[in-house]
Symmetry: C2
Subunit: 290 residues, 2 copies
DNA sequence: ATCCGTCCTGCCAAATTCTCCGACACATCT
DNA sequence: AGATGTGTCGGAGAATTTGGCAGGACGGAT
């Protein structure tokens, strides 16, 4: 079974990873943890994540996903998620195989595939499903290149392309297809998302975004939510909070400055929002460099 | 262990229940199911529910609770929840012991206990915890009365009062105490809830409610949410939807009429909201009497 | 101990976002 | 044809955000 093979390969790969595999197989990455974690908030990039061992839970907006061994998670676009590992130990660490997705590859493939694909109607930005040999099999072939740098250099990109292709056509690829389809609602929302990400420190003008996307405000909100799982402002706030947290942990002088840095004018309010998001006050995350 | 004793007693009680136990032990009720259910929406009354066997999950507003054997759930006031039984079979049915709570008893006790109680700060309307002998022990004594009708008539109310007393002082009783404390925010919200329940078919005037509760709109929303887990309008909508569903299942002539009955003017919109809430269109729930 | 600055929590009003809700058009089903 | 379901929109109003201000907690410094 290909899943077993992948587990085996990933152990091998993670043994080498510190050295140079990053250069040989740039798209694959093994993530490993030996203990359970509390909820952590991060921003995901487009990625497919296959759980090889352990368990993980995640929340984005209102939806909740639970992943076990053999499950895979397809993230179609940048998304602030909150996740934790719920099953991991020194003997059986949590281990996941992560493939970064390259949107330009997807786009070029989509142009070839074109409209020949049926539209999933309930596509979500966070699609989970059991691993499918259609794309795990090329993943195996990709990982097998780790010991043959020259092969990897030539064949690697080809196999990568195949993986993208399989994902694009797979049942969980619904959101990918929507995002790529030119001028679909989803793709226009994707543009809005990029705009928010580019300037999340500035105040948000939802009206402008809606107009730029060519929708009424109500439609814009609806589509935005269906793509991201949250509202525009929430999305921005999540970005701000995650940024604030890294600032604090990196040892920014004070809480107020951190709040100001990410776009809050009122430290009071920043503190309140922060506590709501992370469950404890910003001061607790401030690096104890002093 | 008292939990084992309760299990035993509840099996006995449920064997008799059809006959007359309802009159002998009016406050206790055994709920039993031999199979797993899909999510169902109902309105809970104030109640303490102790899981004797099986598992249950529930959602109210944004919080999510998972209950296993030996867990108890304290519902402090009327609340529209969505729940399902996730672990039940013919051999090991889901079984729960349910005690209705009597607010007037609680109130009279609270007057005696008065301020001698420490306030829990994170009180929620749906408090879950492991069963505590402090109140399971009197529950045992209550159930043991089932074979002695005369004893039950005299001692029953006393023991009930004791159960209420223990719950009121227990760690999970935080919300109960808040609700009872005269003129606390929680108690004023409770009044608003009653007003919504009494006239959920009419359009909602949140401003009036806030004013009646003597708070600013923002404070009102905040407190309302902390007590109920949702916003006033959501709360009303949940009531409407649950009512609509029973109407449909009872065989109301048409979908439009059902929508109109619960306060919607536009059948179009009613249909959409209904699908969002229950996952399938109102027509599917319309009794197939035709 | 007393002061002082920083941070946290409660409350509010104004502003903005977001959702509701009815309207209409159109596809579907029976 | 009639009833129902889905997409879109505009306007109303519900809900949240935001910043301000007051009061309290905490932790150094003096």
């Amino acid at each position: 079974m290909t899943l077993e093979r992948l587990k085996h390969l990933s152990v091998e790969l993670s043994a080498q990873e510190t050295v140079l595999s990053g250069r040989i197989l740039p798209a694959a990455h093994i993530f490993q943890r030996e203990d359970v974690t509390a909820f952590e908030a991060v921003v995901y990039n487009p990625v497919i994540c296959l759980i090889l061992q352990g368990r993980k839970e995640m929340t984005v907006g209102d939806q909740f996903v639970s992943l076990a061994e053999g499950d895979a998670l397809l993230v179609s676009h940048d998304l602030p998620v909150t996740s934790r590992i719920t099953d991991a130990s020194a003997e059986a660490p949590y281990r996941a195989l992560i493939f970064s997705l390259d949107v330009s590859i997807l786009r070029s493939l989509y142009e070839q595939v074109g409209e020949a694909v049926t539209e999933a109607h309930d596509a979500t930005s966070l699609a989970a499903s059991a691993a499918d040999p259609a794309w795990t099999e090329p993943m195996v072939r990709y990982l097998e290149l780790m010991d043959a740098p020259l092969d990897a250099q030539v064949l690697g990109p080809m196999i990568l392309k195949e993986i993208h292709y399989r994902l694009l056509l797979s049942p969980i690829g619904g959101m990918l297809r929507k995002l790529l389809s030119v001028d679909s609602h989803a793709s226009r929302i994707a543009k809005s998302i990029q705009r928010i990400r580019a300037s999340f420190r500035e105040p948000l003008a939802v009206g402008d975004l809606a107009q730029a996307a060519g929708m009424s405000q109500s439609s814009f909100h609806e589509h935005f939510k269906s793509v991201t799982g949250t509202t525009p402002l929430q999305y921005q706030k999540d970005l701000r909070m995650i940024e604030a947290r890294t600032l604090l942990e990196r040892g920014i002088p004070s809480v107020s400055v951190a709040g100001f840095e990410v776009g809050y004018e009122s430290p009071t309010h920043f503190s309140r929002d922060y506590s709501r998001k992370f469950g404890c006050s910003p001061k607790h995350h401030l690096a104890r460099a002093s």
